[in-house]
Symmetry: C2
Subunit: 118 residues, 2 copies
DNA sequence: CATCAAAATCGTATATTGACGATCAACGAT
DNA sequence: ATCGTTGATCGTCAATATACGATTTTGATG
């Protein structure tokens, strides 16, 4: 067997299945991705510290345009970090503590050296 | 004052400072971003469970090309999640537990409702 | 129903990611 | 010095993310 043939084989034999990773890995990545921007972290922090349910106030408190904030809110909402509740002409957002707990749990699982039975 | 003038003012008066967010928010986002891809989570999990210091084995175990894995390793390394040590013609990677601890701590701070001065 | 305020969405321009073949650089061994 | 192996880097293409003005949608109110 030639020298670079081995490489070629290794390259081609690589597992085809699971192109996008484990369920768990995808989940960790999904939650992490939603936090992967300072604006979204700031929004989440705002909702957690100043208390639940704010809305256009977020725009006032953060240095981003309304459209931008709205976009980030959407990302956070879709990932389950926050929840938006329609309240008359405005929308009240609040953090979803379960997301944080779930994320922490997943991270702990990731870190723990316990054996995993596939 | 006109109706949409208020909006205009709010839009223009928005704080110019801190375009990219707090130090802490940027840090959380930075660490989260490095985890925001299943391949990188998988790599980290591999290093944490199978043990420190693997290398081309990562390529064999994961369903991505060598160049792709190398790229992801770089991202993880630059974010401080892992460390690479040159060992002859190969490179031995190992997880950096501090990163995880730091990230968890930041997340806990984020979640905690404690009052933050500044 | 005309109007206003609030927030989502659209449109768009720019920037960043992700994947990967191909190539390069480092190094051990002949 | 040459070769073979390993892993980083380059180049490129497609896809996704970001920012935000402009517009639309939604609902309260006169």
């Amino acid at each position: 067997m030639g020298p670079q043939e081995a490489r070629a084989i290794r390259l081609s034999v690589r597992p085809e299945r699971r192109r996008r990773g484990t369920k768990e890995d995808v989940e960790v990545a999904r939650l992490a991705k939603a936090l992967a921007h300072p604006a979204r972290v700031a929004i989440l922090r705002l909702l957690l510290t100043r208390g639940d349910c704010i809305c256009g106030d977020i725009v006032d408190r953060l240095p981003w345009a309304q459209a931008t904030v709205s976009q980030h809110l959407k990302v956070l909402k879709e990932a389950g970090w926050i929840q938006g509740e329609i309240d008359g002409p405005r929308v009240c957002y609040c953090a979803q503590p379960e997301a944080g707990r779930k994320f922490m749990a997943l991270l702990r699982t990731l870190t723990s050296t316990e054996e995993r039975s596939e």
